[in-house]
Each structure stands twice: as C-alpha cells, then as structure tokens.
C-alpha cells in the first residue's frame, strides 16, 4: 500500500512536470517509474487506471472524451496484463527447472565418477566438460586383477538431458560386464546388445574401448563409430590417426567389432576424444584435425593432465567460451 501511495505521488509529479514543458528530464523520471513498477509487478491496466485518475486531478479541464479513451485503452491492454503475469509465473517455473537440472547434474556427476588409475608405467590425463549442465559424454577407467587398464570413452549423439539419461545406462551396463570379458571387441559387442535392446531407435551411441597391458605394453582397442583418436610415436616424432572401424552401438543386434593392437613404446601417446573436441566451431569454421594435432604437439613436454587442460582452455577460448557439444579428451602417455 505504501508503495502504491508513493508511486502515485511520483507519477503525479513526473506527469505534471512533463505536461508543463515536455523535458527529457521528466521522461527520464517516467523510465525510472517503469523500473519501479516492474519491480513491484504492477500490471499495465493498473498503470492506465492510475494515469487516468491523475490526469483528471492535474488537468481538470480535459475533455471527457480523452479521459474515456483510457477505459478503452485499458480494455485493450488487459491481454498484455495477463501475458505479463503469465511471464512472471513462467519465469518462476524456469528457475525451478534450472535448480532441478542442477541437482540432476550433480547426481549424474556422482553416478559417472571415475578415478584415473595411478600406475607406474603411464601418465594419464582426462577432462570432460558438458556443453550444457548434463553431459552426453562418458569416460571410464577400470583396472582388472592383472593390472590391465581399461579405458572407455562414449558419446551419445545429441546432448542435454536425454543424452545424459542414456549415458547412465551405459555406465551400468559396463559395471555389470563379467570380469573376464574385458577384451575391447567383446566389451563393445555386449554393450551393443544392451543399447540395441534398451534405447530408443533414434538414439545412437559411439564408443571407443581400449585395454592397456602394462607388462607387454600392448594397447588393444575397438571402436563403434567413434571419432578416431590420435597416436603419437615418440621415436619418429609423428602423429597419426588411431583408426578403428565399427558400427555405432544400438544399430544392429549382431554387430561384431574388430580388435586392433598397437605396441606402445616409451614416450608414445594415445589420445582419445569425443566429437565435441573436433566439432569445435570457431569463427573460421570447424577446427581441422591437423590444427588439433599441432596443439597437442605444442604441449608435448607437459604432463598428460596439463596437456588436456591446456587444450581445453585453448579450444574454449577459440569458441568464445561457448561449447556447442560435450567435450571429452583423454591422454595416455607411456613413461620414458
């Protein structure tokens, strides 16, 4: 009530001043009033009604027709008043949704948490950043009883909540794989069956699974339509694609995956990524894989975690801090 009386006083003052000599100063007062009324959620019809009654006070001689016209204007503005109130309530709902999603993102974070294995023979770095609050990317490390290191990286086509829900399923499917089935091709074959049975046909998942044997230093891997990673060979100082062919998960029930092997020498590096890394769009278009290789090269002297952090920072900056897709980058570097 106090606000209303106060408002009427201010309105009267500003309107009288404006009617007297149409200064910009008075109009500025009008803008200030509008800010106050919006803050207090005054709807347009109330302002028109107030305008009319104040006008009657300050200009008693005004023709009745002009005064009456405000009743007509009020009727026209009713719809805007309703829309204004609806907007306020929608904004409130949006706030609630936002905090709900934040909560869900925390839950997802806990669900998908993975620990980077601490092993003597390798330096491992990983970074995963969602484009929105929830991620459709997933990476996971496992270490079996023979100290083999399993590394999984998966990407649901699409992003946001539907992708995130889908990812949680992959995580549980992985957890329930039998202990003795950690060969990359069989891991992908099992997961393919789970995805094919449980996921909407319009949803696809790409995945890369690798297994590193710390004794023989053989890295075996298989991929399901996943963005190829890179391999850095220290002895020749060259970088090449870590190609592996295979159909996306969830397309065909009986898909077989081919398994590849690579002998890893000291100083060699395995670089795994999601397509959010290569689909980083700058003002000059998508970045080239060559550009990305160059970035990695520039950071070669650093530790694995520092390299992935640096590359994320650089690409984030190039996209003006707007990620279009979930970003995951993993580096495994055999110690010299």
């Amino acid at each position: 009530m106090e606000f209303k009386d106060n408002l009427e006083g201010k309105y009267r003052e500003a309107l009288s001043s404006f009617l007297k000599d149409q200064t910009e100063q008075a109009l500025y007062q009008g803008q200030k009033i509008s800010r106050k009324t919006m803050e207090n959620r005054v709807s347009p019809e109330e302002i028109i009604s107030m305008h009319k009654s104040i006008l009657m006070e300050v200009c008693p001689g005004d023709p009745q027709k002009i005064l009456d016209s405000f009743d007509f204007l009020m009727e026209v503005m009713m719809g805007y008043g309703i829309a204004y109130r609806e907007h306020q309530s929608l904004r409130h709902q949006q706030q609630e949704l936002k905090s709900e999603i934040e909560l869900a993102a925390n839950v997802q974070h806990t669900l998908l948490e993975t620990k980077i294995p601490d092993v003597k023979v390798m330096d491992i770095g990983a970074i995963s950043v969602p484009a929105r609050q929830m991620s459709g990317d997933y990476y996971h490390f496992v270490q079996d009883e023979n100290q083999n290191i399993g590394v999984a990286i998966a990407d649901v086509i699409g992003k946001g909540i539907p992708a995130a829900l889908c990812m949680s399923m992959i995580k549980y499917a992985m957890d329930s794989l039998p202990e003795n089935r950690h060969a990359p091709s069989s891991v992908l074959e099992s997961l393919n069956r789970v995805v094919e049975q449980n996921v909407d046909p319009s949803m696809f998942i790409t995945m890369f699974y690798g297994l590193y044997n710390p004794d023989s230093h053989v890295f075996s891997y298989a991929a399901a339509g996943h963005e190829p990673g890179f391999y850095y060979e220290a002895s020749t100082d060259t970088m090449s694609d870590l190609d592996a062919k295979g159909l996306l998960l969830g397309v065909e029930k009986k898909t077989r995956y081919r398994q590849y092997e690579k002998q890893v020498e000291p100083g060699d590096m395995i670089i795994l990524l999601s397509d959010g890394v290569t689909e980083c769009r700058t003002s000059e278009g998508f970045i080239e894989r060559e550009t990305l290789m160059q970035f990695i090269r520039n950071n070669l002297h650093l530790g694995a975690q520092e390299i992935v952090n640096n590359i994320f920072k650089q690409l984030e900056k190039m996209q003006h801090f707007e990620l279009r897709d979930d970003f995951t980058l993993i580096i495994l570097k055999r110690d010299v």
């Binding site: 019809e45 109330e46 009020m74 719809g79 309703i82 609806e86």
Partner: protein
C-alpha cells in the same frame, strides 16, 4: 432495464451481453475500474470458450457474501465435449502464445478463486469468484 443474472451463450453477441451483465454487477458492488475490467475480461473469456468449443451454454453472475466480505461469482456451464486433460489447459503458455486469448490460467489469475469440473462427452462447469478489497 432489469439486470438478468444469467445469459445464454449461443452466438457471439451473447458474449457482449454476458460482459455487460458482469460489468453492471461489478460496478454495483463497488469494484474499481481495474477490477471491473478484470472481471469483465474473465467473463468474456469464459463465454468465448463456450461459444467456440461447446456451441452453447450459460454464464450466470451471482453476488456472494463470505465472512463479511462481498464479491461476485461467475458460473459458466456448458454441455459441450468437455476437457480431456485439465492439467494441460491450465498450463501456462498453452493458449496465450498462439494468440488464442488469456485461456483458463488467465481467467484464474484475473479472479481470486477458480474451480473447474469437466467430464469428456458431458460438459464443463467453471466457477470463478472475485472479492471486493
């Protein structure tokens, strides 16, 4: 002219009659111009829904009293197709964005109390009350 307390909605002009009835009662009870306009808009909206979706029905206006407060109640009744998903029509943004008018959430906001009953195939009854402040 005697104020009728119930208007049969058959054609578009009956919406005007319902509005007029509501405005007269609101004025009579001493509602200010803003609230008069709100009640009238609510009546207009309900009458229009009947005209558009049910074909015909009635809008009645009642003066009411509770705990020493005076107010007016709109009773809109039709025997049209009814509403299958009331939650959906009560959702914000369901109608306004399409330029279809204030919709039922709008009516609810314009009034102090709102109650709806609808059975698919049987019809809809909406009660909405505004109290004098």
């Amino acid at each position: 002219m005697e104020v009728q307390s119930c208007v049969k909605i058959i054609n578009e002009w009956d919406i005007v009659a319902a509005r007029q009835l509501g405005r007269n009662v609101a004025k009579d009870l001493g509602f200010g111009t803003v609230d008069q306009a709100r009640v009238t808009t609510a009546i207009s909206e309900l009458a229009r829904n009947i005209y558009l979706y049910a074909g015909q029905g009635t809008v009645a206006i009642e003066k009411v009293q509770r705990n020493g407060k005076a107010g007016m109640k709109i009773i809109a009744v039709d025997e049209g197709p009814g509403i299958k998903d009331i939650r959906k029509v009560m959702e914000d943004g369901y109608t306004t964005s399409g330029g279809l008018g204030a919709g039922l959430p709008g009516v609810k906001r314009l009034m102090d109390e709102f109650d709806i009953d609808s059975t698919p195939g049987k019809g809809t009854k909406i009660l909405a009350t505004k109290w004098l402040r």
